[in-house]
Amino acid sequence: MNKMEIMSGAKALMVAMEKEGVKQVFGLPGGANLPIYDEFARCDIRHILARHEQSASHMADGFGRVSRKPGVCFATSGPGATNILTGLATAQADSSPMIAVTGQVPVAMIGRDAFQESDIIGMSNPVVKYAFQPRTAGEIPEAVKKGFFIAESGRPGPVLIDIPKDVQTNKEPMDFPDEFKIRGYHPWADPDIVNVERAIEMLLHAEKPIILAGGGTIISSAFAELQSIAETLMLPVVTTFKGKGSFPENHPLSLGPIGMHGHAEANKMMTEADCVLAIGTRFSDRSVGTFEAFEKRLKIIHMDVDPAEIGKNQTAQIAVIGDVKVNLRVMVKLLLQRAIKKTDESPWVKHVKETKAYWKENLKIHPGEMGAAKILRKLREVLPKESIITTEVGQHQMWASLFYDVIQPGTFFSSTGLGTMGWGFPAAIGAKVARPDVPVVDIAGDGSFAMTENSLATAVLEDIPVIVFILNNSTLGMVAQWQRTFYDRRMIGVDQKSCPDYVKLAESYGAQGIRAQSMDELDKAIKTALSSDVATVIDIPIDPEEDVLPFVAPGTSLADMVLPS
């Protein structure tokens, strides 16, 4: 056994983080985490300064989704801590691994309404996977060890470690355990061969089977298994929005995302299917429309790592609980053993392909040169296929879902569950830190970008050259679309009046700002951004009246999809 070294809680935190392989932390210092910040002077962990704690948390989230290792963010107590709540909730809603470390007032001051005291443990409870509040310095190493394990295992999620200031400064002999026990946490299940076998039988006997791949497919990177099963059984593949790009969207069997703004062909075929292999999805209302209508006509095979998802929103005939990659591997193996390989196109697959071809030809898009579809197809055309996309939240996000085809699986990330405006840009910064070797583009709208635009300072000063691609309709576009659709065109609180000028804003931060008003300019702008070593904002003025279509209105079923006329 190692001789226990005496060190402060703050130092122990950094040592424990280094043991977990942490190379950088996104954060903001303040009164209650100064002892922790002082340790940056004495360790190799890079600190990336955010301009708002919420942005720091989204950066950690973006890093975590791309690297599949928890991203780490630091914030001080009180408002610093409350500012990360949105980041925690976003990560929790999208099962993203994250460690948030907050400073807290000294132990003796807790509960006395001290300056910058907030009960972050209480406040964050519903939006974290777990939270620790070490009350002695000696508890810190184990909290970090357990925290990382909880954040990244099973269904990933955010873990909060709230450390009172005196716990940071107190010196104790430190033990960094390799082993630990969490009695009530069992994130792993054995491969479920019996139910996978049953699932194969059900799929083989279905007339119109389909795969619905959700975000869990991406989290467990089960891309090869998914593709193998789809090709072996000739199953068309739709995805949820979060599962977008779990299957190459240029594949003949790919139909793209279903849902409120799903692809027409995906929603149509999902509605016609009689059996679905649902992989790593929680059947969100945005994906499936009304729960009753969705499950009424379907046999459901539900694979998920989280047993609580089985039967929550949809009733499954067969449940396969466990890591979806593990169970999909079992399926691949069983198919191979039984020498099952479909080669003939069934009438169903033929119908699916015809439907896909029809909508490729016939989906009406904005007629102007700078319509959303054309802009996003241009982006796809110019970007290398390994580029990573993040999005903000709003119309541009749904246009990205509709018109930007993800070719390399696992390169598209969005705040799909909580729908956090302002997520995309800081998340892109985190993603670029995780993958500095590939272009990272935040597909943005002007409304969302405005919420975290000051992260430009981080991108420039920390030399993290991401591209912000703004479809700028100078409007809170999705809200405007709903006001046009459901509120008789009473446009309230949506006009951004072209303020600010994003080219000048970018330049004021030392970033590159380019306005693109034609396809030629856009082509040049993307190429310029790709070859620059500084963050670039591409501002693309678009028609504020353009709607996102197709549209499945809230409270209706996928069959009620409204198409562009």
């Binding site: 443990i121 209480g122 009695r183 009530g184 609580a308 039967g311």
Partner: protein, 160 residues
């Protein structure tokens, strides 16, 4: 449908908050709750009774099970379980006859009488929630001045 849930949890501060918060945030209702430390001081046992359809109760159990601080979550079969609640009633005595009548009622339900005063007495009754409800109905005409109930504690009977 009424369900009795027996939940073994880590005996740490804040767990009761997390469990009750889960019920609130998932839109479930707690009908009664009782908590106490087990023979092993590392654990506490919570007994929660709740109402909901089959699917809902299954979902509550799964969500509770998913919590990292819960060690074991069981839904107890009412018919194979001993479940009791302790209740205290303060009952008004309006005339000399009342005292005798209330005592008879208490005896019939196997309760105990405490704190007998001129105008009131206190009843301790340990019984099932249904029996307590029935007692309460019969005691009402005398006038119930105050009530305190503990919530249900429950243990499954052994199978052999």
């Amino acid at each position: 449908m009424w369900a009795i849930l027996s939940i073994l949890v880590e005996n740490k501060p804040g767990i009761l908050f997390k469990v009750t918060h889960l019920f609130r945030s998932r839109n479930f209702n707690i009908d009664s709750i009782s908590v106490g430390v087990t023979d092993n001081p590392d654990y506490s046992k919570m007994t929660i009774t709740t109402y909901g359809d089959e699917k809902r109760i299954e979902q509550i159990v799964k969500q509770l099970d998913k919590m990292i601080d819960t060690i074991k979550v069981e839904r107890l079969d009412e018919h194979k379980t001993v479940y009791r609640e302790l209740s205290l009633f303060k009952i008004k005595l309006s005339n000399a006859n009342d005292s005798m009548e209330v005592n008879k009622l208490v005896n019939a339900y196997g309760g105990k009488v405490h704190d007998v005063k001129k105008d009131s007495l206190m009843v301790e009754l340990t019984a099932t929630p249904d029996q307590i409800k029935a007692f309460e109905e019969l005691a009402k005409p005398f006038g119930i001045l105050d009530v305190a109930r503990t919530g249900v504690a429950a243990l499954q009977r052994s199978s052999t």
